[in-house]
Symmetry: C2
Subunit: 92 residues, 2 copies
């Protein structure tokens, strides 16, 4: 399954018999100046997770986060596995 | 420049002389049940944009959003261009 050229690779079969939904988020921040300034991804990561939790129930142990930073590009990858149909009503 | 197998492709040179930062976000939700239920990406899209605006100044016209949905996978792509060094202090 390939979307936009990035692929949802099969996750480890931790709970092989349980149907799982998967949420994959990739975020890249490319800085023209290459200054290394304004690197807000570590904070943004928490905010995004909080926002996702408005919609689905996510256990901490089912979240996998990778953060990479160099001078010109910072990138954030968040992989979440959750029981199928774990959706919930968003808070208003 | 390729990260995780997805590539930050060069954007249109709308303001060719101005250094631009770019933020690219890709999000895919794969539903095990394939039911089409719990498709919260349209709402999540607004929440994520709001969260990003805590950290950087983003003009509406610099945001490009693509949302795709089928039975098993919904995906969201957000591309943002912003002036270099448009970072701001996050609200507490």
């Amino acid at each position: 399954m390939s979307l936009f050229g990035f692929s949802l690779k099969p996750r480890r079969a931790k709970t092989a018999q349980t149907a799982k939904d998967r949420l994959q988020l990739l975020l890249a921040h490319e800085r023209a100046g290459g200054s290394g300034a304004a690197d807000f991804l570590p904070q943004l990561q928490n905010d995004i997770l909080e926002v996702i939790r408005k919609y689905v129930t996510v256990a901490d142990e089912d979240v996998e986060i990778r953060l990479q930073r160099d001078n010109a590009v910072s990138s954030l990858e968040i992989n979440i596995e959750m029981p199928a149909d774990s959706g919930k009503k968003p808070r208003s």
